[in-house]
Homo-oligomer: 218 residues x 4
DNA sequence: GATGAATGAGCCTTCATTCAT
DNA sequence: GATGAATGAAGGCTCATTCAT
């Protein structure tokens, strides 16, 4: 767990409720990252959160629902994160697309637990349909954004490639990156991930990510 | 479960042993594919295999070891499969590399349970180090083959790209494909996966997979 | 089981904890007495105590530890019992030694389960070293007390016998008594056990337990 | 286990039967001595005997019955042993009684497994009535012999003691000795056991085991 | 006769949930 | 609201026994 912030328990009821829910969600993320989804027991949540066992059922009714909230939390946080990165990028499709990629590539250097937990849900969604809507890459806002950026680039560059194909290629690459990273975070090097993605983009959108752009990137 | 082949139980002891072990391994693959790794209980294995509960411990000592054998089985089967595909390809690096990719792309149209089970182990390996050696893409024979084929292509085509980068890009793409497929096998279309990969290869190895080659592919 | 005292379950938590632990310990003693140490299963403990199966692990973590606590309980209760008997005796070594013997001889008329359970642990200690410290007669406070009383008598009477030998003889006799009693409690007669011990004491400490004393005893 | 005698398996069927039964009985004694009665599993018997698992049921039908045979074997061997010691003694009650005691006292220096196994059955007999007849000291030929020797001594010496009391005292002492020895065979010293018994005999039969006799013993 | 593969009952333990405190 | 004691279902494993080989 990262440095335990010594935030005091709020006195007001509605604030306390939020406080406890958040503590349990954080504990769950940590537990998933360390022991996998099936390694999350109520006892372990109590241990990791420092709260009583009954809190899970009090605040989320069922362990099930807590996990669902955790997934929502992860999805929201991820979306907020890449949208924030997007908002800082220049207002051109190429720059914005690269901002998305760079955000993913770079983020793997920190933020371990959340990423691993996300992957755990991603896997669980295969057999547990309840998680699917929140996990399906193709349905996410991220994928939508990538698609619209690709569409803009294709229109602008006159490329002979379908939007769907371009967007899928990019997301496949990023997902492969996640998995590769997750198996051994120590081994992962942002630089090599970046080059792999850049090369791919240069291939499908040469006028936007071709040699000139690559030189600028180093 | 696929159609239950009515293979009679062998009478000879050594054959029966192999027969039952195989039955348990198949049952495990099926159970993993349906319920995830943590959904594999001895009772469920008994149910899926039609054998007694004690058989798991009799033939594999611990459930643990059965699962390890399942993973080995999956790894072996996958390796045998792509190697067979490789052996049928023309003796040129480009053709051979494409044979590998095509094998992966096409295989997702069948073979559901094995693939999903493999992904489950892949995920489990993140938190359970015991599975890691058999799951780490970078250490596999597959990745080694991809690397040596890339090396040959780079030498032949004089490309300005590191072997590692090229090989990683290809495997990331394929792994992304696996995940995308796994979440909804019905949705998956081999054709679109093929195009995504082809486009990528054309980008990094244009002299081998460029326009001319793409035209040939359709 | 002896008549189930209808003591209501305490409402206060700390009292309830003691109450349930005690109930389980009593159930264990009863189960050991009826079925032997290896006949104590969690199911049987639940049955005998009227509590849920999970209570064993809740209150003692492992069945193992419950049994250890049972042994401690038996040892404590036995010690308290003979010490109480000792405290009521006159302040002379002979009277005190006899009080100890009489306590053992007489107690076998009641208190069945505890005694049989104790013997079961005594036996188990032979192959399970964990029980040994609490079972070893020679290390017990009882043996120490017997020794010091013997020492006092030897000094007072000028007997030509080692303290260790005298004390061992007495404890051997008492242990033989226990075993003989345990095989058939119905057959056991305190009177005959008493005579056997008295005769022995008269032999090694004639000036304290000789004819005159024997006459007084009846 | 003591040095494994390399006796070849007999060819003749009836001899082979005896041979295997004996091997299983020896294995059982060893297993009981090491792991206690409840630690004797068919697997362990197979391991210790070097025979197949099915042999237990083939030769003894049930594990139960094998154990019963083991107890009979132990009882027979013990009886043969003390009777042999008795036959070597001089033809006087005192000498014969002492031969019995000495046999017991001295035997504890070797013969570990059989003694510990015997004690295990002795304990088990408390809760399992099936073992009782073969374990009950008071019913055994040994006790009968002790009683008749005591009777002879009482008649000869004109002692004022009941036969039963005298015989019980002696057997209690010896049983106490067994238990004390069993908890720590390393600690046991035959000499001290001998002195304890001698002192006791001198007390109840002074004319036969009094000072003069004691001096002779050292 | 001898073997060990196959069975299913029973073992201890962990678990999510309920609910009195 | 917050706690953790109590429950009983389900988990993996060991076992004695049966019986085909």
């Amino acid at each position: 767990m990262p440095a335990q912030e010594p935030v005091a328990r709020p006195r007001r009821r509605d604030e306390a409720k939020i406080y406890f829910r958040r503590k349990l969600i954080d504990a769950a993320i940590e537990a998933i990252a360390r022991h996998g989804l099936s390694g999350v027991s109520v006892s372990r949540l109590a241990e990791y959160s420092g709260l009583a066992r009954g809190m899970v059922n009090l605040h989320f009714d069922r362990k099930d629902r807590l996990l669902h909230e955790v997934l929502k939390h992860l999805a929201d946080a991820y979306r907020a994160s890449w949208q924030e990165a997007l908002s800082r990028a220049a207002d051109e499709p190429a720059a914005r697309l690269w901002a998305l990629v760079e955000h993913d590539v770079a983020r793997k250097a920190h933020d371990d637990s959340a990423l691993i937990a996300w992957l755990a849900f991603r896997q669980e969604a295969i057999t547990n349909p309840a998680y699917r809507p929140l996990c399906d890459t193709r349905e996410s806002a991220f994928f939508g954004t990538v698609k619209s950026l690709c569409a803009a680039l294709i229109k602008d560059g006159g490329y002979d490639i379908k939007v769907e194909t371009a967007a899928l290629g990019i997301t496949f690459l990023l997902e492969g990156l996640w998995l590769d990273w997750s198996l051994d975070p120590q081994r992962y090097r942002p630089a090599s991930g970046r080059v792999v993605c850049r090369t791919h983009l240069a291939a499908i959108f040469p006028r936007h990510f071709g040699k000139a752009a690559r030189a600028a990137d180093g």
